[in-house]
């Protein structure tokens, strides 16, 4: 009845899954091996241009972009992450690539470098590339900020050497000003990041309205910084409450995790951590659903006390 597993049509019809079903009755070892090699089935036309937005600042847009981007790259998809925050870019810091950003889109527009020179390839996962719109002090001309991103997406589509990317993730700046307009212009779908508090929800609702007015209908929601202990104590809205208020399908629920800050400061995204963290796993699951255009069928309510076994008294 309730399942965390992706339940989309694409995943259920993949050859590997059919093979799984055939082999499931034989040996457990073979089944687990096949499932380990399972990969998400890419749905929709490529490149999928996804804008990650929120309205309110500080809810985790850039963290989400970095982690979902690297998760997608780890799944084997070609990803280009565009930091569309003109004045206050941070995506390069989160990815640990700040020392390698020499050229930005501004230099590309000015003809000081080509687009392929402005793309920063991540050495950890070579199918992940970063593109910054501008350096902190330079300013993007307002007149064609949106158009420039559309050209960029077109140019990335026509790439011959590296191939067309499967995903173009655009990290949107906070607010609904010129930066927001620039970021959403080339997007086909949106991921709305929100936290379970009323300020964030109000902004998220407004941004969703603007996105819908702009013609972006495929909007999914990530609820970030969820604390199950506070939900249990009725001090925080539950994820289901948030969903009821916004009426958006859920892409993921990210628990509040101190590892997020640690990974941010280290420039080492959470999803690469070993051992995996709770938030890192949740980001990976969200990335999986994004690939398959799937949504959550069940959400985490609260933490349950672990059942103690008969030998627990003896430390078992």
């Amino acid at each position: 009845m309730v399942s965390l597993q992706p339940s989309s049509l694409y995943s259920s019809l993949t050859p590997s899954n059919l093979h799984n079903k055939q082999l499931s009755s034989k040996k457990y070892a073979i089944k687990s091996l096949l499932q380990y090699n399972r990969k998400p089935q890419l749905a929709g036309e490529t490149p999928r241009v996804v804008v990650i937005t929120s309205g309110k600042g500080g809810v985790g847009k850039t963290t989400t972009t970095a982690n979902i981007g690297l998760s997608l790259a780890r799944f084997g998809f070609k990803v280009v992450a565009i930091d569309a925050d003109v004045g206050l870019r941070n995506l390069d810091l989160l990815l640990g690539l700040e020392n390698r950003v020499n050229y930005t889109v501004i230099e590309v527009l000015n003809g000081e470098c080509r687009l392929d020179q402005a793309l920063v390839r991540d050495k950890r996962w070579s199918n992940f590339e970063l593109l910054c719109i501008s350096k902190p002090r330079s300013k993007l001309p307002l007149g064609f900020g949106g158009k420039a991103l559309v050209w960029l997406v077109d140019a990335l589509k026509d790439r011959q050497d590296g191939g067309c990317p499967d995903f173009i993730l655009i990290d949107c700046p906070a607010g609904i000003d010129a930066g927001f307009i620039t970021a959403i212009t080339p997007a086909n779908e949106a991921v709305l990041v929100t936290t379970p508090d009323i300020t964030s929800l109000r902004d998220a609702d407004r941004v969703t309205g603007l996105l819908e007015c702009d013609g972006i209908r495929d909007i999914k929601m990530i609820v970030n910084r969820v604390r199950t202990d506070m939900i249990k104590g009725e001090d925080m809205m539950s994820v289901l409450d948030v969903q009821e208020m916004l009426g958006l399908p859920l892409l993921g629920v990210i628990p509040d995790d101190s590892e997020v800050i640690r990974s941010t400061n280290r420039g080492f995204p959470l999803v690469l951590n070993k051992p995996p963290t709770l938030a890192g796993l949740a980001f990976e699951q969200a990335a999986w659903r994004l690939v398959e255009q799937d949504t959550m069928q069940a959400v985490l309510l609260h933490e349950q006390p672990k059942k103690r076994g008969f030998f627990s008294f003896f430390g078992g």
């Binding site: 009845m1 309730v2 399942s3 965390l4 597993q5 499932q35 380990y36 399972r38 990969k39 004045g87 640990g96 590309v108 527009l109 000015n110 003809g111 000081e112 080509r114 687009l115 392929d116 991540d122 050495k123 300013k139 993007l140 307002l142 007149g143 064609f144 158009k147 050209w151 140019a155 010129a178 959403i184 609702d205 309205g209 819908e212 007015c213 702009d214 199950t228 969903q243 009426g247 958006l248 399908p249 859920l250 280290r266 420039g267 080492f268 999803v271 690469l272 951590n273 070993k274 051992p275 995996p276 796993l281 959550m296 069940a298 959400v299 985490l300 309510l301 933490e303 349950q304 672990k306």
Partner: protein, 367 residues
């Protein structure tokens, strides 16, 4: 050393006392002397057994006489027996001292003395093992440092503390729903993630509810994406929808941005895949044109302080100068460049009067 010497003395006295019939015991003792600590106890036991045997023999010999023996013989036997008893007691005390000496013997020292090559072998083994450990550590460190973009690289960049390196090696699993960290219960009511069990609840949002929310938002937010940004006070272009204009205050940071980039040119720049970027090429061409124009106007000599070096860049004139005056190739002294060369005058391309800079510089450099 002291104990060893005493042992030797005791063995000698022992051998002297016991006489030739006890060759076996002496050989045993000598064997014990050179033997190890493990053999010592067993040999002690053997000596004790021998002692008992001797006593038994003595007592047998004392009490085992027949009735056929005469009384005269009995007297002599008694005397002999008393002497033998004395000797036996002496022997017992000697054996006891010998036992104590053997117990106090340090056998490892003896072993080391016996096999002087063994210690060298052990030392060599320890040194070899230590060297192997060092080499292994060095190789492992080299392997770790060789990967670019690795954790070691992050540590070098200062983004990662070296004491937290353990948690930063990248994870390699491919399915976030099926791995050792995520376990969904059989009834799909709970999920265990990272050792914590969470209760699950089904999502109840329906398509109808989503549509209702969309309608609500479409009523609440009437919005058109701005296509043009105008500063306050700018005239509205005639073919622009007023709803798509974003008015920016004059003091807004965006309003102060002047776009010097031509839109069409910017588009071609973005689409450029190969070759030299536009701006770089344009700057290069502009410099080349300037150089050419300078060459055409023959104003190059004005800029040149050292004509010897300038001539290397001045190809058309270089051949002429070589033909006309080959001596100018070799500067006479360090100030050769300071003098206006004759070739320049011969070419009739430069103005006769030297510039003010050229005249001033040599004077200034003179002491």
């Amino acid at each position: 050393m002291v104990s060893t010497s005493t042992l030797q003395l005791h063995t000698l006295s022992y051998s002297r006392q016991i006489a030739a019939s006890d060759v076996d015991i002496r050989s045993n003792l000598l064997f014990d002397y050179y033997g190890g600590w493990n053999k010592r106890n067993s040999n002690c036991r053997r000596i004790r057994g021998f002692k008992k045997y001797m006593v038994r023999v003595m007592t047998d010999s004392l009490g085992g006489g027949g009735e056929e023996d005469t009384k005269g013989n009995q007297d002599t036997q008694i005397v002999v027996a008393q002497n033998e008893k004395k000797e036996l007691s002496k022997l017992q005390s000697l054996v006891g001292r010998l036992e104590d000496t053997i117990i106090s013997l340090p056998p490892i020292t003896v072993l080391m003395k016996r096999n002087p090559g063994g210690s060298f072998g052990i030392g060599l083994g320890i040194v070899t093992m230590f060297l192997l450990m060092l080499v292994k550590g060095y190789v492992a460190r080299q392997k770790k440092n060789s990967q670019p973009g690795s954790v070691a690289d992050l540590v070098r960049r200062g983004q990662l503390k070296s004491d937290r390196r353990g948690i930063s090696s990248s994870l390699k699993y491919e399915d976030p729903f099926n791995n050792p960290m995520v376990k969904v219960s059989k009834g799909n009511s709970t999920v265990e993630m990272c050792g914590k069990v969470y209760k699950l609840a089904p999502v109840t949002l329906t398509q109808d509810q989503q549509a209702i929310h969309q309608k609500r938002r479409s009523r609440a937010y009437q919005w058109k994406r701005p296509t043009i940004f105008l500063k306050e006070g700018d005239p509205v272009p005639p073919d622009v929808d007023p709803d798509t204009i974003r008015w920016i205050p004059a003091n807004h940071p965006f309003a102060t941005t002047s776009s010097e980039i031509d839109e069409d040119l910017a588009q071609t720049n973005v689409y450029q895949k190969h070759g030299v970027p536009f701006r770089i090429q344009a700057e290069h061409e502009a410099l080349q044109k300037r150089l050419e124009s300078l060459q055409n106007d023959e104003k190059l000599g004005k800029l040149v302080i050292d004509p010897g070096t300038a001539r290397e860049y001045e190809r058309p004139y270089r051949s002429h100068s070589k033909v006309e005056d080959p001596h100018e190739e070799t500067p006479t002294n360090g100030q050769a460049g300071l003098k206006p060369p004759r070739s320049d005058n011969d070419l009739n391309s430069l103005p006769k009067k030297p510039s003010s800079e050229e005249t001033k510089k040599p004077e200034a450099k003179k002491p």
